[in-house]
């Protein structure tokens, strides 16, 4: 197998010095900023997003770009998107690639999201790009959800994805990012995607596949063959572990604990080894 397997270096709180050493390049995933949320679980989501940006700017290896895996806003309002864009301008990495969360496409089926973030994307905002030999695929699984169902990709996007990866060599490292997990984390709470098996089947030939998701506001990781699945913390508020509460709603914790449950995900790539190291760092 010429493609490597991503390695999880650390989940420990506050770890940020093991990532990036000797790497060819790194990028950072942030997620679930929920700008506009103002309930007791976090009355100041601007401050915690700013803390995430400060964390990014303090990383020993400067990330080349950022991925935001959705729920940028809490209610899809223009001023909420504006605030996030403004805060992210302070990050050392200037390029940000987005996919929407369900909170970003409320009421207008994603129209205003697309107007703002849809440049160079297809359909509802899915897209792919190449950086330093890695092929990145941003998927949208938060639209046209069916009663009783999970996240959904839809036929048009699946067809696009199959074509998108067809021409790639099997040694190309692949990074897939999407809001709702592309693995079955906890279907009872809707934490999964309807057609994820089909989507992942298109990636079977690749030696290294890393799947980065948000939505569940906590880190989880699973390795299955050539695929590493990873979810990031939110920058806004934590959510309970699968089934450990009455609902997946915001989890209120003592104020001094909040930032230990929020964070960023630093992903580091070493070309020779074809390996991606995933390091989660909390904000406090």
């Amino acid at each position: 197998m010429s493609g490597g397997i991503p390695v999880s270096r650390a989940f420990a709180k506050g770890m940020h010095d093991s990532g990036g050493k000797g790497g060819d390049f790194s990028f950072v995933q942030i997620s679930d900023s929920h700008m506009g949320f103002n309930k007791p679980a976090n009355p100041d989501v601007v401050a915690t997003l700013q803390a995430a940006v400060d964390k990014i700017n303090g990383l020993p290896n400067k990330p080349e770009f950022l991925l935001h895996t959705g729920d940028i806003s809490h209610l899809s309002r223009p001023e909420q998107f504006d605030t996030v864009d403004q805060v992210l301008k302070g990050a050392s990495a200037k390029d940000v690639f987005f996919v929407p969360g369900e909170h970003d496409v409320l009421d207008d089926n994603g129209k205003s999201y697309l107007e703002r973030y849809g440049k160079n994307t297809h359909g509802a905002g899915w897209h792919s790009f190449d950086k330093k030999g890695i092929h990145f695929i941003g998927l949208v699984n938060v639209l046209n959800l069916k009663a009783g169902g999970l996240g959904s990709l839809g036929d048009e996007q699946l067809e696009w994805m199959e074509k998108d990866v067809k021409h790639l060599s099997h040694s190309t490292p692949i990074v897939v990012f999407a809001h709702i997990p592309l693995w079955s984390v906890y279907p009872e709470w809707g934490w999964g995607t309807q057609e994820s098996t089909q989507a992942l089947a298109y990636l079977k030939k690749f030696g290294s596949v890393t799947v980065l998701n948000g939505h569940i506001h906590q880190t989880m990781q699973k390795v299955e063959g050539n695929v590493t699945f990873h979810t990031a913390m939110s920058t806004a508020f934590p959510q309970p572990q699968s089934g450990k509460a009455d609902s997946p709603g915001p989890m209120k914790v003592p104020a001094e604990q909040l930032r230990t449950l929020l964070g960023i995900t630093d992903v580091n790539y070493v070309r020779g080894q074809h390996s991606l190291a995933i390091v989660d760092s909390t904000l406090g």
């Binding site: 209610l75 899809s76 909170h103 409320l106 709470w189 997946p248 709603g249 915001p250």
Partner: protein, 119 residues
């Protein structure tokens, strides 16, 4: 239960006033249009609709109230009604003018489902 009773009582008072007024005028065809006492309330709490199934007479209105810290929607599975996104404490009402069974869900969290039976 207590809350429901209070709510109905609150609505019943203006209704009774209206009915008293009706005695003074010739019977009107609009008098029975709104059986307000049969209106129903659905609360959205902990990512679920409660009660999950509500049975109402034709012409009754159902009001949903979001009690969660997270926005939800109320969307008919068959496209009959569709709320805008409802944030904390916001409401949505729909009046059912035809008998039938109306399944619905939250389009943001589709695991949340409910049903209105109109008889």
């Amino acid at each position: 239960m207590t809350k429901t009773n209070v709510w109905i009582a609150g609505l019943a008072t203006p209704l009774m006033v209206a009915m008293l007024l009706l005695f003074a005028v010739p019977p009107s065809v609009t008098a029975s249009d709104q059986p307000s006492a049969s209106n129903a309330e659905v609360k959205i709490d902990n990512f679920s609709f409660a009660p999950q199934t509500v049975t109402i007479p034709v012409g009754a209105t159902v009001t949903w109230t979001n009690r969660d810290d997270i926005p939800h929607t109320v969307v008919s599975t068959d496209g009959v009604f569709k709320s805008k996104v409802r944030d904390t404490d916001e409401q949505f009402s729909y009046t059912f003018s035809k008998a039938g069974t109306y399944p619905y869900f939250c389009s943001v969290h589709p695991k949340m489902t409910g049903k209105i039976v109109v008889q």
